[in-house]
């Protein structure tokens, strides 16, 4: 059943229908593969891995006006992890905030779709990439929106590796101290960072307990289970007084079997003849 939640003339229509979100996510993954194929390499594992989460945020939660990306009352989506830009651009194109045709310029000299998302691109709220910034700025945005009487929410996507940055925890303290219950941190656990698995590089678990101990309303769900994601965001909406941490476990390269099975897929190089296989595997995926 398709349940349209809100659709004023110029705001993006939202849905809580898992099938509709799944279709959006698949379209986004196709955008990701097309962008990656042009460049021949990149953060395609992250882009594919986060598509289901981004589809849920953009098409079931986020209040935006595609034709007016700087609408003052919009919900903010803050991407800490700038290298996930490939996934964000796919969402922005699918939402109509940037033209789909422009995706073919991803990573090209002179393109505004840089490998790490710059805030000069419509729909990008903050220049991420220097990790540990996103939650600090999200706290400030949430304070500012509340002070100005706006009911907009702030969503921050950060990564498991980013939980090694001290500033993330400074911001976690601030979010709880200031009772920012309109702030939602989504922590993507794909179990990969530049030098390997976080458990080998610098252990961060147990994440649920850590965020809860910092005073956050914390949940942990599969980042590929649409009903579970929808339920987590619903629980966040229904829980006042605390900021919300939603830890999502995701699979790098999700939807393309060859990429899912790679051992090291933080930054993927793909041979020219592998793209046809990747595209076919994505087409055949659920």
């Amino acid at each position: 059943m398709s349940a349209v939640v809100s659709a004023p003339a110029s705001t993006l229509a939202l849905t809580r229908d898992p099938a509709a979100l799944r279709a959006r996510s698949k379209a986004m993954r196709k955008h990701v593969l097309r962008m990656a194929e042009i460049v021949g390499q990149g953060y395609v594992g992250q882009g594919l891995g986060i598509s289901d989460v981004l589809a849920t945020v953009y098409f079931s939660e986020l209040r935006t006006r595609p034709a007016e990306p700087t609408w003052p009352d919009r919900d903010r989506f803050v991407l800490s992890i700038g290298h996930y830009a490939i996934g964000l651009y796919a969402a922005l194109a699918e939402a109509g905030i940037i033209p789909v045709d422009e995706l073919s310029t991803y990573g090209a000299d002179g393109s505004r779709l840089e490998m790490s998302a710059p805030e000069t691109t419509p729909g990008v709220e903050m220049t991420g990439g220097s990790l540990g910034h996103g939650l600090t700025q999200s706290v400030g945005m949430a304070l500012g929106l509340r002070l100005q009487g706006k009911d907009a929410r702030v969503f921050n996507l950060l990564s498991d590796g980013e939980c090694q940055e001290g500033s993330t925890w400074e911001a976690a303290l601030a979010g709880a101290h200031h009772k920012l219950d309109h702030l939602i941190a989504i922590i993507d656990c794909n179990n990969q960072q530049a030098d390997g698995a976080p458990s080998k590089v610098m252990g961060i678990e147990p994440l649920h307990e850590k965020w809860a101990a910092f005073g956050w309303h914390t949940q942990r769900v599969s980042g590929h289970d649409f009903p579970a994601l929808l339920a987590a965001f619903a629980a966040a909406r229904a829980t006042p007084g605390k900021p919300h941490a939603i830890v999502v476990d995701t699979l790098m390269g999700k939807g393309v079997k060859a990429f899912e099975e790679r051992e090291k897929n933080h930054f993927i190089r793909v041979a020219a003849d592998e793209w046809a296989i990747a595209n076919r595997q994505l087409e055949e995926s659920a």
């Binding site: 400030g140 002070l147 500033s167 400074e170």
Partner: protein, 331 residues
Amino acid sequence: MSTTAPTKPRGVTGTILASDAAGATKTENAPFGHALVRAAEKDARIVGMTADLGKYTDIHIFAEKFPARFFQMGMAEQSLIGAACGLARTGLVPFATTYCVFATRRAYDFIAIGAALGRANVKIVAGLPGLTTGYGGTHQGIEDLALMRSIPGLTVIDPCDATETAQATAAIAQHDGPVYMRLLRGIVPVTLEPDYKFEIGKARLLRDGADVAFISTGLMTTRTLEAARTLAASGVKAAVLHVSTLKPFDRTAVATLLARVPRIVTAENHFITGGLASAVADLAVDEGLRIQLKRVGIPDCFCESGSLPYLAERYGLTAAHLASAAQEILR
């Protein structure tokens, strides 16, 4: 271990916040805090924040007046600056306070990327510049201007006295863009003339003279003015150009002075490298101007603890040192 006892009574400092106002004939209390309140009464966009140093940066005056518009961020400078950038992105004008050392050493990436690259309209107001605290190397901001000057797009200001601190506070509140301003807090001397007018990016010729020229910033301008008066008594005519905005640097005013009076003494409450002296030397090279330059400032070392007069004497920042530097360059 030395067993030699001090031969004469020493100045002491047991506090982080020593006052530089001793001997000043006129002072003002908390010029930044009061100026911020005045600006905020007219501009609802202004909000205040600190990292556990409200009382020590005079922003507590704003917090008492506008409690809902004040955000305590705790002892967490990265969070302070990051949240300031976030507040600015919602259309507000955050003033974030801490000490120079903590803002610039601990939160550098957040100023460089969040504020400057992100063009966030944040105002970082940082206390204990240079040798205005007797607390030693952990608290003396001796290289902050060098760090901040090297960030593209950041405005950097080092006010001289209470008058300029108040005027600069009002000016940066209206300026659209990230600013780093050094803070003179507590009881602050008034040394500039009542008709002084601060303008971002403008140097002011406070005194003219053809023999030698002082180019100074921050509280050192109080001392260059005193040195110029001393020199006048012995017949030496010294100009004083006050450069309170280090960035953008008033190249026109400085180059004009260098061309006219090529014997220059720079004075800054900061390392002699990376701050005002370096900016003057860069400009002279760029413009092909032949000058003689003596740099008065903090040498390449972390400084001791001690009373402010002791430190100024120990590291050569007094008016007498400045007058001597001018005499040397004239020899």
